[in-house]
């Protein structure tokens, strides 16, 4: 069994974002008598930053375990999916930059049973290894994936397309992407 954790560097960055966001959007509604037009969006943004902070703490406490049978997220709000039950795979890429650089990926796995959901972010140590295993299982089980997911896998140098030839013609950029954080 292999164990992976989110490295502290990106987690501390997220804590800092949550704290700064909470201070900037949470303090004015508390300390000033804002107009409703300003109060509502600011309070909503403060709520989002609070949830983001809580989610970062949840990730901090989570350990991802992977073996031949299943992938498990151990920790608060964890989950587990056996490879046999894997039914839905989605790999998204997000970036806030205009050139779409320095982004990050999010892998969402859903099993056929209720409550079988695991979400992973690319800052996780060993993310590539898990993604490779997921693509392998998805191919062997014939799980349909969106065009977006397939091209994001291709960017990792992983061929997830059920209809494709082996990944030798994906271009020189394939597999050479980097994220903000540990990559």
């Amino acid at each position: 069994m292999k164990r992976f954790r989110y490295p502290p560097g990106p987690l501390y960055g997220d804590y800092a974002r949550a704290a700064a966001g909470l201070a900037l959007t949470g303090l004015p509604p508390l300390l000033l008598s804002l107009s409703p037009w300003v109060w509502v969006p600011m309070a909503a943004a403060a709520g989002l930053f609070a949830i983001f902070g809580a989610r970062t703490a949840q990730r901090h406490a989570t350990v991802i375990e992977m073996d031949d049978d299943r992938v498990t997220a151990r920790g608060p709000l964890g989950g587990s999916i056996s490879w046999e039950h894997l039914a839905h795979v989605r790999l998204n890429y997000y970036s806030t930059r205009r050139d779409r650089g320095l982004g990050w990926m999010q892998l969402k796995l859903k099993g056929s049973g209720s409550g079988e959901t695991v979400r992973l972010e690319s800052t996780l140590d060993g993310f590539d290894e898990i993604a490779e295993r997921v693509a392998e299982v998805a191919r062997s089980k014939g799980i349909g994936m969106t065009d977006t997911t397939i091209s994001n896998f291709a960017a990792l140098g992983i061929d997830a397309d059920l209809d494709s030839t082996p990944l030798t013609n994906q271009g020189e950029n394939a597999g050479s992407w980097t994220t903000r954080g540990s990559r």
Binding site: D14, R17, A18, A20, G21, L24, T25, P28, L32, S33, L34, S35, W37, V38, A45, L48, F49, I51, F52, R55, N92, Y93, Y94, S95, T96, D99, R100, G101, L102, G103, W104, M105, Q106, E121, D147, T148, S151, N152, A155, G171, N173, A174, S176, W177, T178
Partner: protein
């Protein structure tokens, strides 16, 4: 998606603060202030103003304070709903703007809906029926829309509406409803007058959108995966809706951010021609007379629209197509 949302908001906050600072500096850049403009005007008419009264006004409006202090007072006021005082109208900015902001939002929203509702089906038709009679006809109309000056179209439509439907010339409502409280009659009167500015402002935007959607969709329809999908026996409708259209509307959605402020600021000339009680003409007057708080509030509103528009389009794009683009210059 939560991470994206949070990071995107973290970009928005300093952007808005920077815009507010730049806006304040810009409205302070012309030499002098509103009071010096007033004194010059009075002197040109041979009148004089008492220096002690001038000093009193300067202190009352805070014009004697350093710029940085004025900025923070203005910024704090914006947060608490106090947008400052209009020197020109001698009333708080919020009172001066009054219904104008609401009417501007109604006109802008109706224009955006018009642009989308008209350009979306036409763009798809033009791309899927390339070089057909319909494509040529609609392309011709699109170029006509792009080439016709808004103010000219405004005058033509005003005449047409007056002669054909008896709609009163200019304004967004019958004169009986101006300054009257909102009622069903006033609302219907606004609706009766609304279509003219919506068509005038929306025509050029519609033409541009049709051209862009047509070009994007044609690019996608000629790609290999569409040929493969057709070869596999997918129906033409499914082939179109499943992938090419989704890809083709990405730039369409990315444009929302620019659309909002363009419509609000671009409508200024049309608003003057049509005598619309919107914010455009008032912003021009405020800039001319150095009515700094009124102009600053409008400029901040436009900046806010831009930032919120770009934010919404980024969110829509992230939800619609969260894909890495290897050819986009990213260091993947």
């Amino acid at each position: 998606m939560l991470g994206f949302l949070v990071r995107r908001i973290m970009v928005m906050i300093p952007t808005l603060l920077a815009i507010s600072a730049i806006t304040f500096v810009i409205i302070q850049l012309p030499p002098g202030d509103y009071l010096t403009t007033l004194v010059t005007e009075l002197e040109s008419r041979g009148e004089a103003i008492d220096q002690s009264r001038l000093q009193f006004l300067r202190e009352t409006y805070g014009l004697d304070k350093p710029m940085i202090e004025q900025y923070f007072v203005w910024l704090g006021g914006m947060l608490t709903g106090d947008y400052g005082y209009s020197f020109e109208y001698n009333r708080p900015v919020a009172d001066v703007v009054g219904d104008r902001m609401l009417l501007t939002i109604i006109v802008s929203f109706a224009t955006i809906v018009f642009i989308w509702v008209v350009s979306f089906p036409i763009g798809i038709y033009s791309a899927t029926h390339q070089y057909s009679l319909g494509d040529y006809g609609l392309t011709f109309l699109g170029f006509l829309g792009l080439a016709t000056p808004n103010f000219l179209l405004a005058l033509v439509l005003l005449y047409f509406a007056n002669v054909t439907f008896g709609t009163s010339i200019g304004g967004l409502m019958d004169s009986a409803y101006i300054d009257a409280p909102w009622s069903m009659g006033k609302f219907l009167s606004v609706l009766e007058h609304l279509w003219i500015p919506v068509i005038v402002i929306g025509t050029s935007g519609t033409a541009g959108m049709i051209r862009r959607l047509r070009a994007n969709l044609l690019d996608e329809l000629h790609k290999q995966y569409v040929v493969t999908a057709r070869a596999k026996g997918l129906s033409p409708g499914k082939v179109l809706w499943k992938y090419p259209l989704r890809m083709a509307i990405n730039p369409f959605i990315a444009d929302i951010g620019n659309l909002l402020p363009q419509i609000v600021s671009g409508a200024a000339v049309v608003s003057i021609v049509l005598s619309l009680p919107t914010t455009g003409p008032m912003l021009l007057d405020a800039l001319r007379s150095q009515d700094m708080y009124l102009a600053g509030s409008f400029l901040m509103f436009l900046a806010l629209l831009t930032v919120v528009g770009v934010f919404l389009s980024d969110l829509a794009l992230a939800a619609l197509d969260p894909r890495i683009r290897l050819e986009g210059g990213a260091t993947r």
